[in-house]
């Protein structure tokens, strides 16, 4: 825990590319349900695909999945095959832990159709609230040659078609893809995801490749090596209950955010003013001067609601009062870290303007701020917006500029 401290080069901004595209006029229909024959939404008003990308994590879409083993796939078409950097996925207000749901992200050069599609399953790093490549609980039930495609396992019910499995009992890892399941025998494609066929020992552990398993319900963030040239991205949920039996509850998801994070450059002179704004409280005075207080809200969803972004595991009455704020002033840094070389050719980014200011439309879209990019504490993350209608920089010297940001928590 950082004690609300900000480390200049540990600040990380997670800006959502899906809503950035929408804000620029890309139709929301480019966000699609996939393999809908395998799964369905529940019947609530918000149980639809748009709820998943509305940047409103409080409002959840619910899937009718309890006891089912379907993969739920959603695809975004990023419209371009270059200069479209992606390196994180945020899943907000989910009950993945309760439902025993894992999440997997893949990209492709063409549209997705079936579970397991995709040129590449990203190799995630769990940043917040999750573990990567979870153990399935099942093991190989036979020694495996490097060519055998009928794989006997101790519990075939733990798996579903379209899953990628990681076998890691040898010096060289191998990924295999399940194409069919007959009780405890998996039909697989060997040497998937660029790995080589390798012999494996009887009893070897089987891991779910590319899957992030939420540790708790709430927010999960996974990052991965930046990819800039893939147009189609698919978020896939996978039942990961050890011993099978599918999802353990209907899966609910507040929203997905997919994009490129920006880690702030270290600057020698950073002014940091953390604060809490109690904007839900009104004080009124009688004509005689008596003071009355009306509290509309003291913190996010303080009326016994179970959810507040990144404060999921706090009881509602323990949430910090007021709206968390940060006034940050970088008195100077290399302007190459702030702006792209050519504003008419904003590309893969790397500068603060391209990665953050342009992606969120200054004060239009929400983003997540990590006070410490490596922190696994929810309290170091903030769902927020810029509380300013302009982004002003001051050129202090040749190639040296400074700027200020005011950041305010979103409920």
């Amino acid at each position: 825990m950082s004690y609300n401290r900000v480390h200049g080069d540990d600040l990380r901004f997670y800006a959502d590319s899906i809503n950035w595209l929408f804000s620029k006029g890309v139709p929301r229909t480019e966000w699609e349900d996939k393999n809908t024959g395998d799964w369905s939404y529940n019947s609530g008003s918000y149980d639809n695909k748009y709820t998943l990308v509305d940047q409103n994590p409080l409002r959840k879409a619910s899937f009718n999945l309890e006891g089912d083993d379907a993969h739920v796939m959603h695809q975004i078409d990023l419209q371009a095959t270059s200069a479209m950097p992606i390196n994180f996925l945020k899943i907000m207000n989910h009950n993945g832990a309760d439902a025993s749901a894992g999440f997997r992200l893949a990209y492709n050069t063409s549209a997705f159709t079936n579970p397991g599609d995709g040129t590449t399953i990203v190799a995630p790093v769990a940043v917040l609230n999750g573990s990567v490549n979870p153990d399935s609980g099942a093991n190989l039930a036979e020694a495996l040659t490097d060519s055998e495609t009928a794989v006997d396992v101790t519990d075939g019910g733990a798996f579903s078609v379209g899953e990628y499995l990681l076998l890691d009992d040898q010096q060289e890892q191998e990924v295999i893809k399940i194409t069919a399941i007959a009780v405890n025998t998996l039909t697989v494609t060997r040497g998937a995801q660029g790995t080589n066929n390798v012999e494996h020992n009887n009893g070897a552990d089987i891991y779910r490749y590319g899957v992030i398993k939420p540790t708790n319900d709430g927010e999960t963030i996974l990052t991965f090596t930046e990819v800039t040239d893939k147009r189609y991205w698919c978020i896939e949920t996978i039942p990961i209950q050890t011993g099978g039996a599918g999802y353990q509850a209907d899966l609910d998801i507040g929203c997905y955010m997919l994009g490129k994070y920006h880690t702030m450059t270290m600057a020698p002179d950073l002014s940091v003013k953390p604060g809490f704004l109690s904007d839900g409280v009104t004080n009124r005075k009688t004509v005689g001067g008596k003071d009355f207080t009306f509290g509309h809200y003291l913190s996010s969803n303080d009326a016994a609601a179970t959810y507040a972004p990144y404060r999921y595991n706090l009881r509602y009455y323990m949430r910090p009062n007021g709206r968390q704020t940060f006034n940050l002033t970088w008195k100077g840094m290399a302007d190459t870290n702030i702006y792209p070389q050519d504003l008419s050719a904003i590309g893969a980014g790397g500068d603060f303007f391209s990665d953050v200011i342009n992606k969120v439309g200054i004060n239009f879209l929400s983003f997540t701020l990590a006070l410490d990019k490596d922190s696994s504490d929810e309290g170091d993350y903030l769902f927020c917006k810029f509380d300013q209608s302009s982004f002003d920089t001051t050129q202090k010297a040749w190639q040296w500029s400074g700027f200020s940001l005011r950041i305010i928590q979103q409920y």
């Binding site: 620029k24 006029g25 890309v26 139709p27 929301r28 748009y50 940047q55 509309h296 009326a303």
Partner: protein
């Protein structure tokens, strides 16, 4: 609620929205066209010039207490720039070949991500009624397009006289004394001619004369009808008519008991009993006043049902006698115990010397020296009278005929007609007539029957024909402004008609408050609302007692019925007896039961103070709401006056819309 196109719907649930309006101003020219404007240069099927400086606001309101809808004009300000020789938009708008005034204007709601004009929501369709400009700006004033604007209702002009021909709605009824009046305009050699009946010659046409003294319509049994050739109503100038009339009242010298029952149309009777034990004769007289009928009587028959009961007979006889003309005539005599009964007719004509009798007099008599008890019973008395205008003196006869200003027809009123309607003269209810008049008099018809929604439900699936099965009967002898007529019809039908251009499948909506609600069109989440204000309807709006005068007499225009309803809780509001009590005339309804239903409807709305309020809908997800929609509230910060939000249904009674804001007024309805 507006059904939003899928691509529009896809955008509204987002937390962050970019929205604008698209303005389309049509013009007529040798090749008609449209100018397109928006807040920014946009291509959304069409190219919209980004010239709008101020959108103004769309403001719609319904008044449930008076059943009317109101839409304010919209004022839009544009920058006065255009790609022409002067560089001024104003040069294009007036004086050239393009005519913009009074042409259609459409305002669409656009959200970023919606790329087709057809995927936008049509917010408003109106007419450009004013164009103002100075060097810097052009201001458009747009009024909502309502098909009934500046129209009148009549049945055309009479070809011979240029008089306005009457208009009629409903079905005639002898029982309820409802016939359509047609003004007379000429007497030719044989006939009194009246204007054509509203809907021309029909089979079984009958013509009636209004007898003022008995306040009833009497069929003209002489030559009369509707001319198949001209449609004129005519009657032979003598206006001969034969009809059965009831005595008007009990005469002053009456001696019988329950005399009025002799003509009350029931099995009850008037009676009297005499006892004589010898001595001189005894009599008692039933006296009933004769009806005063216009014109000259040519025959009179008094018809009655009688019983003469004799008991304790020792000697003598008892009789029932007629003394109407002052000359005693035995009708029946009985000389023994027992009962004589039957029906009888007294023909007055042979003894009738010209002046009609003023009373009917029937005697019960026991002859002198008799020893018996006699009881007489009389019921079902009526008088069959034949009258006409006497032309023995031609000048006097003509003067009499000239004084007849109206005849009356039993021809039926207008058929119900709109696309999909098949009942013809089926259910002459207010909403059906409203739709018919729009079709016939304003030239407005929905594309399909179900393109008119009733409280959010397709017309044919709605319950309006059971909720509002109130029969109407209406006529007009002069041109009336169509909006006034429809406004009154709405009021009496207890509904509000709103034209709707927001969807290709909804052309208009009917709104009324249902007697109870079990579900809302939408539940508004307090997390997505702001500027919430709660109020009550003002005391001045409370109507604790309402009286409706109804059943307009076709001959006199007076109202033959009057019903009232007093709110049972009026004492709660410290109102004196006559405070907040109103009396109103109904021109369409005639049934007491239906009027009571209407009284109940308005009492439910304004009989007591109701909770009203306003708020801003901050989530565009709610921007498909319209006036008349039913909403509930959830997740609210506080309760209205301590009542639970969850137990109250509200109707949206007003919307104020701008491209980036949507405010509603709401009113408690259940």
């Amino acid at each position: 609620m507006i059904t939003q196109p899928a691509n529009y719907q896809a955008a509204v649930t987002a937390q962050h929205i970019i929205s604008d309006w698209l303005l389309e101003v049509a013009y007529s020219d040798s090749t008609p066209g449209t100018f397109y404007f928006s807040g920014q240069d946009r291509t959304v099927t069409n190219k919209y010039a980004g010239l709008v400086e101020d959108w103004g606001e769309i403001s719609e309101e319904i008044d449930l207490a008076n059943s009317v809808a109101m839409t304010a004009d919209i004022t839009i300000t544009l920058l006065n720039k255009w790609n022409n020789a002067s560089g001024l938009l104003s040069d294009e708008l007036f004086g050239g070949s393009k005519k913009f005034l009074n042409q259609d204007v459409t305002i669409r709601s656009w959200l970023l991500g919606v790329s087709s004009a057809s995927d936008c929501v049509t917010r408003f369709v109106g007419r450009l009624v004013k164009i103002k400009h100075n060097l810097e700006t052009v201001t458009f004033t747009i009024e909502k397009r309502v098909p009934w604007d500046r129209l009148k209702i009549d049945n055309g002009k009479h070809s011979n006289t240029n008089l306005v021909q009457p208009y009629a709605v409903g079905l005639c009824s002898a029982t309820d004394k409802r016939y359509f009046p047609v003004p007379t305009y000429k007497i030719d050699n044989n006939n009194i001619l009246a204007l054509p009946h509203p809907f021309g010659y029909q089979e079984n046409d009958q013509v009636f004369y209004y007898e003022r003294t008995i306040e009833d319509f009497v069929e003209i049994t002489g030559s009369a009808g509707v001319s198949p050739a001209t449609g004129d109503v005519y009657a032979e100038k003598e206006l001969q008519r034969e009809a059965a009339y009831l005595p008007q009242e009990v005469g002053s010298a009456n001696q019988w008991d329950n005399a009025s029952k002799a003509f009350d149309g029931t099995a009850a009777y008037a009676s009297d009993t005499l006892v004589l034990g010898g001595g001189g004769e005894v009599t008692s007289t039933l006296v009933l006043n004769f009806p005063a009928i216009d014109h000259t009587y040519t025959s009179i028959e008094i018809r009655y049902t009688y019983s003469l009961i004799v008991s304790g007979h020792v000697s003598g006889s008892a009789s029932l006698q007629d003394n109407t003309l002052g000359t005693l005539r035995n009708l029946i005599t009985r000389s023994s115990d027992g009962t004589s009964s039957g029906t009888g007719t007294i023909t007055i004509t042979p003894d009738y010397s010209g002046e009609p009798p003023s009373t009917i007099k029937l005697n019960l008599k026991i002859a002198a020296g008799s020893d018996l008890t006699a009881e007489a019973r009389i019921s079902d008395v009526d008088i069959l009278i034949t009258t006409n205008i006497d032309f023995t003196n031609p000048q006097e006869g003509m003067n009499e005929a000239k004084s007849v200003e109206k005849l009356y027809s039993n021809n039926s009123g207008v058929d119900l007609i709109w696309t999909g309607e098949t009942s013809g003269l089926g259910d002459i209810y207010p909403h059906n007539v409203f739709r018919t008049l729009l079709n016939l008099k304003a030239g407005w018809d929905a594309s399909a029957e179900d393109d008119v929604h009733v409280n959010g439900v397709d017309w044919s699936s709605s319950s309006i024909d059971t909720d509002r099965n109130w029969l109407v009967f209406w006529w007009s002898l002069k041109q009336l402004p169509l909006p006034d007529v429809l406004k009154q019809l709405q009021f009496e039908g207890g509904f509000i008609w709103v034209f709707d251009y927001t969807s290709s499948t909804v052309d208009a909506r009917i709104i009324y408050v249902k007697s109870s609600y079990s579900s809302a069109d939408k539940t508004l989440d307090g997390d997505y609302l702001s500027e919430i204000e709660i109020d009550t309807t003002p005391v001045s709006e409370i109507v604790t007692k309402r009286t409706f005068n109804y059943d307009r007499n076709p001959a006199t225009g007076s109202y033959r019925g009057s019903n009232s309803k007093t709110n049972t809780n009026r004492g709660n509001w410290n109102l004196a007896t006559e405070e907040n009590a109103i009396e109103q005339n109904l021109d369409w309804l005639y049934s007491s039961t239906n009027v009571d239903s209407l009284l109940t409807y308005y009492d439910n709305i304004v009989g007591e103070p109701k909770i009203v309020g306003s708020c801003s809908l901050d989530s565009p997800e709610y921007w498909n709401l319209q006036v008349g929609d039913i909403v509930k509230f959830s997740n609210m910060e506080y309760d209205p006056y301590g009542k639970s939000w969850s137990s109250i249904y509200f109707m949206i009674t007003g919307v104020t819309i701008q491209p980036d804001s949507f405010k509603i007024n709401f009113r408690e309805v259940g």
